[in-house]
C-alpha cells in the first residue's frame, strides 16, 4: 500500500516515527562505531548533559508556541545561579535555591509583561533583557561564587540509581509540561494564541495573561536550569550561559516547532534536545577537533532538518 493512501493523521505519526528512527539511528551508529558510547559513564554523561538544554528548550517551546521568543534565558541561568550561590552563606540551601528559581520567574514575568501589555516585539524585549540581566549578574558578583557547604552540590550530582536526580527533574518538567500543553485550557490557549491571537481574544480568552504565563514558564525553567547548573559545577559564574538560547531554540525547531507560533510538540522538542546532545557527544567520542566540531555540528543540523522535511513531504 502506498504511503499516500494513509489518512492524514497517520502521516503525522509517520513523521514522528521517522524522527524517532533518526535518533535511534544516531544512537546505533554511536554504539557500533565507538567503544565508549554504551559505557555507564558515557550514558550518565549524556543524561547529565541534556539537563540544561532540556529545561531551557521546554521553556522556549512554550514561548515559541505563542509566536514569541526568549533570548534572555542564558542570562537568567547566570543570574539565578550566582544569586543562589550568593544566598547560600546566609540561608538554608533549599531556600537559596528557591530564591534563584524565583528570580527566573521574576525575569520571565517582566519579559511577559513587556511583550503582552505593551505589545513590544519579543525579540527585542528579550534581547534587551539578555543584556540587562547579564549585567545584573555581574553587578551581583563579578567573581564566581563557590559555596563551601557540600550540600550545595547535591542537586546537581546526586544519583537516583543509574539516573542523575537533575535529569529526573528535567524529565518531570517535560512530563508535567506535556500534560500542561495538551490537557489544560491554559496550555491549549497558549498554542491557539500562536495560531491566531485575535480569534482567541474573540473567544473571550485573556490573551495577555496567557502570554505573560508563557514567558514566566520560560523564566522558571531558566531559573531552575541556572540553579541546577551552579549546583552541578559547584561554582556559580556570572559569565555562564552565553548563547544557551541558541541551542534551546534549535532543539525546538529541530523538533518541528514553527517560530511563527502555534505549532510544536513537547515530545519532538525532547527529540531535538536528544539530537543536539548526541551530536556533541559523538563528535567528542570521535575526538573531532573543536573547530571541525563546529563545522560538522552546523552541517549535521542542516542534514537533520532536511531529512525531517523530506520525510514530511514524502509522507
Amino acid at each position: 500500500m502506498s504511503v499516500n493512501a494513509l489518512p492524514k493523521i497517520s502521516r503525522e505519526l509517520l513523521t514522528t516515527v521517522a524522527f524517532t528512527a533518526l535518533i535511534v539511528l544516531l544512537i546505533a551508529v554511536a554504539a557500533i562505531t565507538t567503544e565508549n558510547f554504551l559505557t555507564q559513564t558515557n550514558l550518565t554523561n549524556l543524561l547529565k548533559q541534556m539537563v540544561t538544554t532540556g529545561l531551557l528548550a521546554y521553556g522556549m517551546l512554550v514561548v515559541i508556541l505563542t509566536g514569541g521568543i526568549d533570548l534572555s534565558v542564558g542570562s537568567v541561568v547566570a543570574f539565578s545561579g550566582i544569586l543562589t550561590a550568593g544566598m547560600v552563606s546566609s540561608l538554608p540551601i533549599p531556600a537559596a535555591m528557591a530564591i534563584g528559581v524565583a528570580s527566573g520567574i521574576g525575569f520571565g514575568l517582566v519579559n511577559g509583561m513587556l511583550v503582552a501589555r505593551f505589545g513590544l516585539a519579543p525579540f527585542v524585549v528579550t534581547l534587551a533583557s539578555l543584556t540587562t540581566i547579564r549585567g545584573l549578574a555581574f553587578v551581583y558578583s563579578e567573581v564566581p561564587i563557590a559555596p563551601e557547604d557540600p550540600a550545595f552540590f547535591t542537586l546537581g550530582s546526586a544519583m537516583a540509581g543509574p539516573i542523575p536526580v537533575s535529569t529526573i527533574i528535567m524529565f518531570a518538567v517535560f512530563l508535567v509540561g506535556g500534560v500542561f500543553l495538551t490537557r489544560t485550557p491554559a496550555g491549549r490557549s497558549i498554542i491557539a494564541i500562536g495560531g491566531n491571537a485575535e480569534t482567541v481574544r474573540l473567544a473571550g480568552i485573556n490573551v495577555r495573561r496567557h502570554i505573560v504565563l508563557a514567558y514566566t514558564i520560560a523564566g522558571l525553567c531558566a531559573g531552575l536550569a541556572g540553579v541546577i547548573l551552579a549546583s552541578r559545577v559547584g561554582i556559580a559564574q556570572p559569565s555562564v550561559g552565553v548563547a544557551f538560547e541558541l541551542d534551546a531554540i534549535a532543539a525546538c525547531v529541530i523538533g518541528g516547532a514553527s517560530l511563527a507560533g502555534g505549532k510544536g510538540s513537547v515530545r519532538a522538542t525532547f527529540g531535538g534536545v536528544l539530537v543536539l546532545v548526541l551530536i556533541n557527544n559523538l563528535l567528542n567520542l570521535y575526538g573531532v577537533q573543536s573547530f571541525w566540531q563546529q563545522v560538522l555540528k552546523g552541517l549535521i543540523i542542516i542534514a537533520v532538518i532536511l531529512a525531517q522535511r523530506t520525510n514530511r513531504v514524502r509522507a
Binding site: 492524514k8 495560531g195 491566531n196 480569534t199 474573540l202
Partner: protein, 489 residues
C-alpha cells in the same frame, strides 16, 4: 432577548464610519442588515460582538443599558458572532476551534478530550453540519467547511443573539440549505438572528425585518412583504439599477486557452475545454468539486499530473496573457499590510520600469485610474493598507491588480463573493466590455443566478470531472444544479 442601539457612532481614528445608528431587534426575529460595501455593516456587528467599543451612543439589552467591553462580555450575555473574515485557528482541530475557552474538564482540572470530541460532534450535528469530523485539523477543511465550523462554534454555549456577517458568501447548495434550516430552528427557539448578506434573494426569504444601511446611517427599516429586491438595491446604491446582467451576444474569436485531458491526482481528472476570445464561460460546481484546483493548475500554481493546457508557473501563465483572481483574497489575493497602491501594482511591477527603477509616478497614475474605474472606496485609499478596506472593496482591489495587467484570458474564482449588488453590476459590465474587446473569461462561481446571467455558456464540474456543458441562454438553474449533483438525464 431584545437588542437596541441608540444613536450609535463609531470612529476609526478621526474618521467616523457610523453616524448615529438606531436599531431594534426582538427575540425570535431574523433582522437582516443590507448595504453597499463599506456602508458599515461589519462595524456595526463588531459593536454587537464587543470586539470594538462604540464611540458614543448606547446599547440596551432587554431595555437595560449595557456596555460591552470585550468579546467576553458579549459571550456572557449570550451574544455570539460569526465574523466576515474567517478566523479559525488553522493548526488546531475542529473540536478545539469549537470549544475554545470552554473545554469539558475532569475533576483534576485537565481537559477531557473524549468528552470534548463528543461535545464537538453534538454541536456540529445540532447545527446540521454532521459531515465534519471533529478531529480534523481545521486548516485542512475547505473554506466552506471552515465557515460551518465558525457557525457551529457560535452555537457552543448559551445563545440568545446570533450575529452572522455574510455567512452565505462561501456556502452553496446543501450547505446553504443547512444554514437556513439552522436559522429557522434558532428563530423558533426565540433567538434573535442578525443577518448580514449581499444576497438579497436569501434576505427576502429569511428576514422578518430588513434595515438598509448607507454610508454609516440607517436609511430604511422595512419588511420583505413591503419591499422588493429592486427596491433594496435602489436604496443601497442610491440609484436605480436598470439591469443586473448585461445583454450578451457573443461571437467568439480564436481559441485563447485550450485545456486537454488535464488531471491532477486526487483533485480532478480529464478536464478538456476551450476558451475563445470574446466569450465568457461560467464554471459551476458544488463545494469541493475541484473548480479552484483546476484553475490553480491551469495558471501554473500547482503542477498537473497529466494532460495539456496548464502552464508551468504563474510567471509563464502571466507572460501568455493570463490573469487569475483567486477565491481567497486574504490568503492568495492580497498583502494585507501593504498599501492599496502596492497591491494593485504587484503583478505589473516589472513591466512599469524606467531603466532599473520603477516608474513611480506612472504607476501611481495607472493605479489611481483603476481605483476610479472600479470605484474602490474610499476614493483616496491608495496609501492605506489594503486590510483596512471593507471586504468588498478588497475584492475590487484584487480585480484591479489583474485588470492592470491587461490580460487576454481572465480567470475569476468567485469574484463577486462579498461584493454588493451595485458593484457586482459594475463588475459584470466591465467583464462584458472587456470581452467585447476580445478578452476570454472563465467565471467560476457558486452563485447559480450569476453563473447563468453573466456568461455565454456554462461548464459544470462534479467530483473532479466535467459533468456537462450548457448554453446560458434558455437553461434553468435547476438544470445546472442537476448536472452538478449528478441527477441529470
Amino acid at each position: 432577548m431584545s437588542l437596541e442601539l441608540r444613536s450609535v457612532r463609531k470612529s476609526y481614528g478621526e474618521v467616523e464610519v457610523l453616524h448615529g445608528v438606531d436599531l431594534t431587534g426582538r427575540d425570535g426575529e431574523v433582522l437582516a442588515v443590507v448595504g453597499a460595501n463599506g456602508a458599515g455593516k461589519s462595524t456595526l456587528i463588531r459593536i454587537f460582538a464587543g470586539a470594538h467599543e462604540m464611540s458614543s451612543g448606547e446599547m440596551l439589552i432587554d431595555g437595560e443599558p449595557v456596555r460591552l467591553r470585550s468579546p467576553h462580555d458579549a459571550h456572557e450575555r449570550g451574544i455570539r458572532t460569526v465574523y466576515q473574515e474567517l478566523s479559525i485557528v488553522p493548526g488546531l482541530s475542529v473540536t478545539e476551534n469549537l470549544l475554545m475557552g470552554q473545554f469539558p474538564k475532569r475533576k483534576t482540572g485537565l481537559i477531557d478530550w473524549p468528552a470534548a470530541h463528543r461535545r464537538a460532534k453534538e454541536l456540529l450535528d445540532a447545527a446540521g453540519f454532521g459531515a465534519i469530523e471533529p478531529r480534523t485539523i481545521a486548516g485542512r477543511l475547505t473554506i466552506a467547511r471552515q465557515q460551518m465550523v465558525e457557525i457551529a462554534k457560535a452555537l457552543a454555549g448559551e445563545v440568545r443573539v446570533l450575529v452572522l456577517d455574510e455567512p452565505s458568501a462561501v456556502l452553496a447548495g446543501s450547505d446553504l440549505d443547512a444554514l437556513f434550516e439552522l436559522i429557522r430552528r434558532l428563530k423558533a427557539r426565540g433567538v434573535l438572528v442578525v443577518y448580514v448578506s449581499h444576497r438579497l434573494a436569501e434576505v427576502m426569504e429569511l428576514a422578518d425585518s430588513i434595515v438598509v444601511i448607507k454610508d454609516g446611517a440607517i436609511i430604511e427599516t422595512t419588511e420583505p412583504s413591503r419591499t422588493s429586491e429592486d427596491e433594496l438595491i435602489r436604496l443601497m446604491a442610491g440609484r436605480k439599477l436598470e439591469q443586473i446582467y448585461p445583454e450578451r451576444r457573443a461571437s467568439p474569436g480564436e481559441a485563447r486557452l485550450t485545456v486537454t485531458d488535464l488531471s491532477r491526482r486526487g483533485e480532478f481528472s480529464d478536464i478538456s475545454f476551450e476558451l475563445r476570445a470574446g466569450e465568457i464561460v461560467g464554471l459551476f460546481g458544488l463545494v469541493g468539486s475541484g473548480r479552484s484546483e483546476m484553475a490553480r493548475c491551469v495558471f501554473g500554481a500547482e503542477p498537473a499530473s497529466s494532460g495539456s493546457g496548464a502552464f508551468r508557473s504563474p510567471a509563464e501563465a502571466i507572460s501568455h496573457g493570463l490573469a487569475f483572481v483567486t477565491e481567497d483574497r486574504k490568503r492568495t489575493g492580497l498583502i494585507g499590510g501593504m498599501s492599496v497602491l502596492d497591491n494593485i501594482a504587484l503583478a505589473t511591477m516589472r513591466a512599469s520600469t524606467r531603466g532599473p527603477l520603477i516608474d513611480m509616478s506612472g504607476r501611481k497614475e495607472r493605479v489611481a485610474g483603476m481605483i476610479d474605474l472600479l470605484s474602490i472606496q474610499p476614493a483616496r485609499c491608495a496609501t492605506m493598507p489594503v486590510a483596512s478596506l471593507s471586504g468588498g472593496n478588497q475584492q475590487k482591489a484584487v480585480l484591479a491588480k489583474w485588470l492592470l495587467a491587461e490580460p487576454r484570458v481572465l480567470i475569476l474564482d468567485e469574484p463577486t463573493r462579498g461584493v454588493d449588488m451595485a458593484t457586482r453590476v459594475d463588475i459584470y459590465r466591465m467583464i462584458d466590455a472587456l470581452a467585447r474587446e476580445g478578452l476570454a473569461v472563465l467565471l467560476i462561481s457558486s452563485d447559480l443566478t450569476e453563473v447563468l446571467g453573466a456568461t455565454d455558456r456554462v461548464l459544470v464540474m462534479r467530483e473532479g470531472r466535467l459533468a456537462g456543458e450548457l448554453p446560458s441562454e434558455g437553461t434553468t438553474e435547476d438544470e445546472v444544479l442537476a448536472h452538478a449533483i449528478g441527477v441529470a438525464a
